[in-house]
């Protein structure tokens, strides 16, 4: 590390290398930390999390009872102990609260003054963060499983919405109306994601085991569907040609650069696709247990040199290397099923929410102290009778 810093100082090294190496190290050491707690507000399972991209300071969470909470993640107290406080809550008694489970929440990508939430009560609400009053409500015929706004769009402000209806709907924030329908799927839409690279490209996943990519400017239909057998049509069953999985597809995630797309299905497989041509890259992650009937929110790390995928798998979170498919580790901590996880790209932290109503913060382990110090500490500890020790750790931290 010192060598790295020296090389960086003298200009021998690209600053990016240092950043990447350090963030990779940090991601590899993610663990639960007693110093970081997220306030427990939800009285029911946590379905969805979103961290805003502007400052990385605020996190939204949506619960199975319709409650939406905003947390402050930034620790400005200069102490290692920090409890992420909730700033405001759309609680059960709020007059505009969602009636049923909130499935997806998302910050408006360019500003924290606005966020969106969609729910099983068949609505999509656009909220004003200041007043916590919906500025716009879209009503749908079926339960809403997911929605997404393009993180990079400058030419449009469309929200893609996946509902029980097999048609994907696009809502325009400018006009406050539904502008298009994308037709092609034959089952419920469980996940929609805009490409982080091209603002008009949208990926959708459905219970009909297909994943389609769309260019929303194109009127005639989807660009292509992903095929697990790479175009050898005779290999797939004739009635279910071009299926991405052998079961429902319930999760989608683009990599940070938008060049690859990850999909996860109830056939316990995760697949990595080239998002430009829809080719299966044949990365084999092994069995990824996935019994969720709804959409599953998983996430990819950003800014590490081999990238990692964080996938909820039962009551654990599996961490895989993105391009080799190796299982790196399992993060154990939740008491019940994990539903969502969200990566904080600035601090390499992971937040996860589950059916046990908790939001857990996975924090990189602090660097182990230099060896001499460690020896001293053990010596001190050895000389002192452990019974007389009291709260020595906190005094160490302050000093």
């Amino acid at each position: 590390m010192l060598g790295f810093l020296f090389a960086r100082q003298t200009g021998l090294e690209d600053p990016l290398h240092l950043k990447r190496a350090e963030s990779t190290r940090r991601v590899l050491t993610l663990e639960l930390n007693k110093d970081r707690v997220v306030d427990r507000i939800h009285g029911n399972g946590v379905n969805t999390l979103d961290i805003e991209a502007v400052e990385g300071k605020y996190m939204l969470s949506g619960g199975a009872d319709g409650v939406i909470v905003i947390y402050d993640l930034e620790n400005s107290s200069q102490k290692p102990q920090y409890t992420c406080k909730s700033i405001c809550t759309v609680g059960r008694s709020h007059q505009h609260v969602h009636k049923f489970s909130v499935e997806t929440v998302q910050w408006y990508p360019h500003d924290t003054g606005m966020f969106t939430s969609s729910s099983f009560d068949k609505t999509l609400k656009i909220w004003d963060t200041e007043t916590l009053i919906p500025a716009e409500i879209f009503n749908f015929e079926g339960t809403v499983y997911c929605h997404h706004m393009s993180p990079i769009a400058t030419k449009h402000s469309l929200i893609a919405v996946g509902t029980k209806d097999p048609k994907v709907q696009l809502c325009d924030l400018k006009s406050g109306s539904r502008s298009h329908i994308l037709q092609g799927h034959r089952g419920e839409i469980l996940s929609v994601k805009w490409s982080p690279r091209y603002e008009h490209i949208l990926a959708t996943a459905s219970t009909d085991s297909k994943v389609r990519l769309w260019d929303v400017r194109r009127a005639t239909g989807s660009l292509f569907t992903l095929d697990q057998h790479n175009g050898m049509k005779s290999k797939a069953a004739s009635e279910a040609a071009d299926s991405a999985h052998n079961g429902r597809v319930n999760g989608l995630c683009f990599t940070g650069d938008g060049l690859h797309l990850l999909t996860i299905g109830t056939d316990n497989r995760m697949r990595l696709w080239n998002s430009a041509n829809g080719e299966n890259t044949l990365v084999n992650y092994g069995k990824v247990y996935n019994e969720s009937r709804k959409g599953l929110k998983f996430t990819v790390s950003k800014g590490c040199s081999p990238e990692f995928v964080f996938v909820p798998s039962g009551s654990e979170i599996a961490v895989y290397a993105l391009f080799t498919g190796k299982l790196i580790t399992m993060l154990r901590g939740h008491y019940s099923y994990v539903d969502c996880c969200e990566f904080h790209p600035d601090f390499q932290e992971l937040y996860s929410g589950g059916k046990d109503c908790n939001i857990l913060a996975w924090i990189p382990a602090p660097r182990s102290p230099v060896l001499d110090d460690a020896d001293d500490q053990t010596k001190n500890g050895g000389s002192l009778n452990p019974a007389f020790e009291d709260a020595w750790s906190s005094s160490d931290d302050e000093g």
Binding site: M1, G3, A7, A21, E22, R25, L28, Y289
Partner: protein, 260 residues
């Protein structure tokens, strides 16, 4: 540059001890240990598995059948296996078959073996010519797992009664109206033995106190009549299909029934 590389690997070292898969667990007996060490060559792994296949059981009428997931128990890197298998398939060295009992499992057979055994089974019968023609035209040019009617009639110029003959001889099995799987003749007994044996071996592990057993102990046990394909063959099958987890211990690999 050197220093940077050193440091990057250093950054990863912090994690390695926790993973704990590499440092021990290679003290297996016989050939399998040699294969776990050299992870790269899928073809030699295939040949090793072929040697485990009990030819005598089927009076030498079947080509040695390997399941694709068995390779995963020899090589840790699944992605690499998948890519190399698909390469071998495109080269025409191996053929892949869909096994009827599970949409996820594929059987692998060396093309040479397959042709020899299938023709040997047909010799002296009137379908011999058709099967020969099928091998010469279709298998040479196309590495698909199944064929539809249109392709068979137009591209490969087969007639309806010829397809009937192929189905009769077991080279094709019906998949749907107008589409067929490529199949291994007389492989029904193999599938039966495989499923029976898998159940029996898994049952043996489940009967132990903590649902776990040392691999070496299991290999040394006396097998019931249900386990016809050989214990090594079944262990590779169980590990590859992720029905058991491998846990490295100081006394060898421990197999534990996977939960979930």
């Amino acid at each position: 540059m050197n220093r940077k590389r050193l440091l990057i690997s250093d950054a990863f070292k912090t994690k390695k001890p926790r993973l704990g898969t590499e440092p021990f667990g290679f003290q297996e007996n016989g050939k399998s240990s040699a294969f776990q060490d050299e992870t790269l060559d899928t073809k030699s792994a295939l040949q090793h598995l072929v040697s485990l296949f009990p030819r005598k059981l089927f009076n030498d009428t079947l080509p040695p059948i390997i399941l694709k997931h068995q390779l995963y128990s020899l090589t840790k890197d699944r992605t690499l296996v998948d890519r190399q298998v698909s390469e071998l398939k495109d080269k025409g060295e191996i053929l892949m078959f869909q096994m009827g009992f599970d949409p996820e499992s594929f059987a692998i057979v060396f093309t040479e073996d397959y042709k020899a055994k299938a023709l040997a089974a047909e010799s002296g019968q009137q379908t011999f010519g058709t099967v020969q023609k099928f091998f010469d035209t279709v298998l040479k040019s196309c590495s698909d797992l199944s064929f539809n009617k249109e392709k068979m009639l137009k591209e490969f110029i087969f007639r309806d009664h010829e397809i009937t003959q192929l189905v009769k001889s077991g080279v094709l099995t019906v998949r749907d109206a107008g589409s067929w799987w490529l199949a291994i003749p007389n492989s029904g007994r193999f599938a039966k033995y495989l499923i029976q044996g898998r159940k029996a071996v898994l049952g043996m592990i489940k009967k132990t106190k903590y649902n776990e057993v040392l691999r070496r102990d299991l290999e040394g046990r006396k097998m019931t009549s249900q386990v016809k394909l050989g214990i090594h063959y079944h262990i590779h099958d169980l590990i590859g299909a992720e029905l058991v987890d491998c846990i490295p211990t100081t006394t060898g690999t421990l197999l534990r029934v996977a939960d979930g």
